[in-house]
């Protein structure tokens, strides 16, 4: 059986930053796939390469970063081979991006309506009046109360939750096929986070969108993602459906991540700890990058970089010892 081609396929992506201190290998051989209508969660800690991967997909990696290797296919097109003008037709129109902090991604000197209309006019060749009408509809779609007043306000007059709703409205304005949401709720309070997650889920279902949700919170992944890719220090640890990964993690890092987070339901006397710190990516550990912190590490983990192996049922694992290890998940009990 051959599966239909995924909407987005990233293969062997390497994005490096050429700094004075040395080459930072922020993304080093990352592969992932997003199918139509699916939500992929990309999880990892700070410095794991989540954001840089997303920036690479849209080719907006800030200097001194450069995509040095890999393939990014979107609807069969190789994005890395496109010219800049062609890329501009994709950004915002076919792939939209929602940033982490809504306070810094809305322009403080333009009103909400101006910012939405700008995107609409750029991609859809509408008149200013029509664009504003559409902007007002979008605000209603993301459940902003008093949309007629809000549309004339400036970002500083709005709360964090409302600003993030506007960022979502802007991302939806050109009816994209894929949305990349980079930690869309990290800057928000829990009750507001619940509102925004609910909104994202509802819109995704209604418009049949594919979504890449970047987050560090395993809870959010469990709530709204279909599949998940776990990143560590610029490399993929494993990927699979949410059920597979949470019930039967195959990579020691995934397991450690699940057990070290305090769980509301299971109260323990002492939390299990991942020793050490996230490695420095100028001089990453040799072999498997997780080996200095891995309780199952052996000589082979230091000597050789593991392959990202497909292990059936669409799962991939990046570990030498996944076959012999029988990792337990704290969730499956």
């Amino acid at each position: 059986m051959t599966l239909p081609d995924p909407l987005l396929r990233v293969q062997g992506l390497r994005t490096h930053f050429y700094t004075y201190a040395g080459i930072v290998k922020a993304v080093d051989n990352v592969s992932l796939e997003v199918n139509k209508g699916e939500t992929l969660g990309v999880v990892g800690e700070s410095g794991s390469g989540k954001t840089v991967t997303a920036q690479s997909v849209l080719r907006v990696v800030p200097p001194p970063g450069k995509i040095v290797d890999g393939k990014i296919e979107f609807q069969g097109k190789n994005l890395l081979a496109l010219r800049e003008t062609e890329m501009q037709q994709i950004r915002g129109k076919e792939i939209a991006y929602i940033f982490q902090d809504p306070t810094t991604t809305l322009d403080p000197v333009y009103t909400v309506g101006d910012q939405l209309a700008e995107v609409i006019m750029r991609h859809q060749k509408l008149s200013k009046k029509d664009a504003w009408t559409k902007a007002a509809d979008l605000l209603k779609m993301v459940d902003i109360p008093d949309a007629d007043i809000r549309i004339h306000q400036y970002p500083h007059e709005l709360s964090g939750g409302t600003k993030q709703r506007i960022a979502i409205a802007r991302a939806l304005s050109c009816e994209p096929i894929l949305i990349i949401a980079d930690e869309p709720t990290t800057a928000l309070d829990v009750t507001i986070q619940a509102q925004i997650l609910d909104l994202l889920r509802e819109i995704k279902d209604r418009m049949n969108l594919a979504m890449v949700l970047i987050t560090h919170d395993m809870g959010i992944v469990a709530e709204i993602c279909d599949r998940v890719t776990v990143l560590y220090a610029g490399q993929v640890c494993e990927s699979g459906t949410v059920e597979q990964v949470f019930e039967k993690p195959k990579h020691p890092y995934t397991q450690a991540l699940l057990t070290s987070v305090p769980n509301l339901a299971l109260r323990k006397e002492k939390l299990s700890v991942i020793p050490g710190n996230v490695p420095n990516l100028i001089d990453p550990p040799s072999g498997c990058r997780f080996n200095p912190r891995c309780q199952y590490a052996q000589q082979i983990c230091i000597d050789r970089v593991p392959e990202l192996e497909p292990i059936g049922e669409g799962r991939m694992v990046h570990c030498h010892r996944w076959k012999e290890l029988d990792l337990k998940s704290p969730v499956a009990s």
Partner: protein, 341 residues
Amino acid sequence: MTLTAETVLEVRELTKHFPVYEKGVILRRKLGDVHAVDQVSFDIKKNETFGLVGESGCGKTTIAKCMLYLEPPTSGEILFNEKNITEIFKKARKDQVLALRRQMQYIFQNPYSSLDPRMTVADIIMEPLEVHKHIPRNEWQDRMYELLRMVGLEDYHAERYPHEFSGGQRQRVCIARALAVDPQFIAADEPVASLDVSVRAQILNLLQELQQKLGITYLYISHDLSTVRHICHRVAVMYLGKIVEIAETDELFENPLHPYTVALLSAIPVPDPKKKTHRIILPGEVPSPVNPPPACRFHPRCPRRIDICSKVEPSLLEARPGHWLACHNPWPSKSTASYNV
């Protein structure tokens, strides 16, 4: 863990208002007050970790700062070991103030901004020793190394500067600095919020170990209910400058009574894909503390609002032993069906 019933800290009707002025330079009229904390009372027992949870802007940090007199309270009393410390700080007799400061310390939220970048770790940890002079100078260095080891750092870290450390290690330095004067009480303001998930567990465990070893009492401030459940013995939930519920941790999580607490608990994403939970999504946003809603401050967003809620302010009463609640129409107890723990 056994808790002695001895009370270390008592907060009585603590209120803190910040005035808001008109823009301009010369004739600035006062426009009103930010009601950051309003008539809050609670006590903290010896050897206990007392949690203070709530969303941003609800007054958690202001309470902690008032308790240590880093912000003078507008009114209210704080009793530490049965002494009224607001009085002592107000009179500002240097020896008495120093003696109090030695017993009460603070760990700040962001270890990136609370360490002086131009001081070595040794200087940072020895500075409190220099200020308080409670041990002779020739013992400072030994004490500094002892503290480093106590928080899980190595001797060679002493000569380094803060920028050479990761977030988790910096937070360890902050903890060592707070411990330098042998405090009885530490206010920890979101000590793990700015750290990576895999490092948080290390710091939480360290705080617990130190409590067992040294018998410290903590005020633990957080918006993250899962860490609160892990580390705290008792928890107070705040909304817009008011405490709405206080209970022992297990009781609060298993049997929440205030609709806000229930909504807060149901809003946490649970890392288990099989648990499809019903969540209570609160409409709207936290109102401005300059002009808080009358009576119960939560009533405009409350799913269980009744007539009285907008007319009479509920007072904090003991709903069942050790479980305090300020609500006219509490969540039906034991109805855990609609909420996810």
